[in-house]
Symmetry: C2
Subunit: 237 residues, 2 copies
Amino acid sequence: MIQEFRYADGDVGLLGELHRPAGPANGRAILVVHEADGIGGNVRRRCAMLAELGYVAAAADLHGGGRTLADDAIGPAMARFRADPPSLRRRVAAGLDALIAATGFTSDRIAAIGYCFGGYAVLELARAGSTVRAVASFHGLLTTAAPAQRGGVAARVLACTGARDPLVPPDDVTAFQAEMAAADADWQLIVYGRALHSFTNEAVNGLGDTRMAYDRSADIQSWAALRGFLDDSFARS
Amino acid sequence: MIQEFRYADGDVGLLGELHRPAGPANGRAILVVHEADGIGGNVRRRCAMLAELGYVAAAADLHGGGRTLADDAIGPAMARFRADPPSLRRRVAAGLDALIAATGFTSDRIAAIGYCFGGYAVLELARAGSTVRAVASFHGLLTTAAPAQRGGVAARVLACTGARDPLVPPDDVTAFQAEMAAADADWQLIVYGRALHSFTNEAVNGLGDTRMAYDRSADIQSWAALRGFLDDSFARS
């Protein structure tokens, strides 16, 4: 069952989607944060897959009104968020607060996952010290203008990245590991050696963008890793 | 059903264990390479777990006669192998050849996994260009005196390592990624942020060695990753 997921960040009205489990609910919820353009097919598919597993899955909205940005608007919007981590952290946290309100679950029963820019967004949530149980990033940007502070990351962190992703070069992967280690976070990293950007998203193969490609093997294995990571994380709460 | 697994590397007689599946066989086999000392509880447990999944699992022997080395003999034995990669590659390949002979399987139906020094050993097998379908290393040393050459790695590679493993420091993890990328290998890396050396082995908690610790979460998740990696790898052959 898919419902409107209306909430606000200050005076910006946000419109996502709430996917309720059709079968037995497991009493947990996942905030799913979209790629740079907005809520699309990949996010909807992940929400459906999570609802099938018993989770309440909420597709968050970063841009307002559930809008999908036109190509020429994506760069500026991303640049604004990248330059101002607190603004992105507030925007994601607004979705989390709305999910808590919609479900009545405490934050230790909630995780946040994201794809591409959404992966970066959920890492920012973790860096901000959110008490959400876990966050997972798929081909998200791994560096930030506001690195995590020692002891400042409460959520468990999983990052899945492609070694050939031009948007996440090896130096960024190394820097992320050093950042998480210095923060004393509870983190995991998976690197898929032949994967490019957006390896979980079949639709990118039609875009003609050589930085991106669907990788079936990395998609299947990273989804399995997410399921195991969520099971392991929620078993602790 | 556990049988003796006798074979030789030149004039060195080797004695491992062959674990046959009790239930339905899946037509695939796994060579399991032991930690620095020799075949022990962790390797036997993994062989049993693999046999339960339908694999023929063979515990290889690196030291001859199935010996377990005394503490003061471990360092010199490892140093000899580390300084002479061809000798280690021959020793591991002898086990693989014996497993092929014992099962009648072609090498694309076989994988090799290893723990600690055995993890390093199976990576050496991959670096040597073995046509085994896949190799997986758990808390193994990731660097070598004889790095892989471009196009020289035929097997799929999975390495699971602990970010706090003093035997595998971050620089080695970075170097491994660069090596595999330069070799154009089909590789994956998983880093468990809080894991130390030997994170899969419950027995190390009794050793009083602060470099090592069992990590239940990393153990469970790396085993699940192995299962998915093997399924994915064998589905291609």
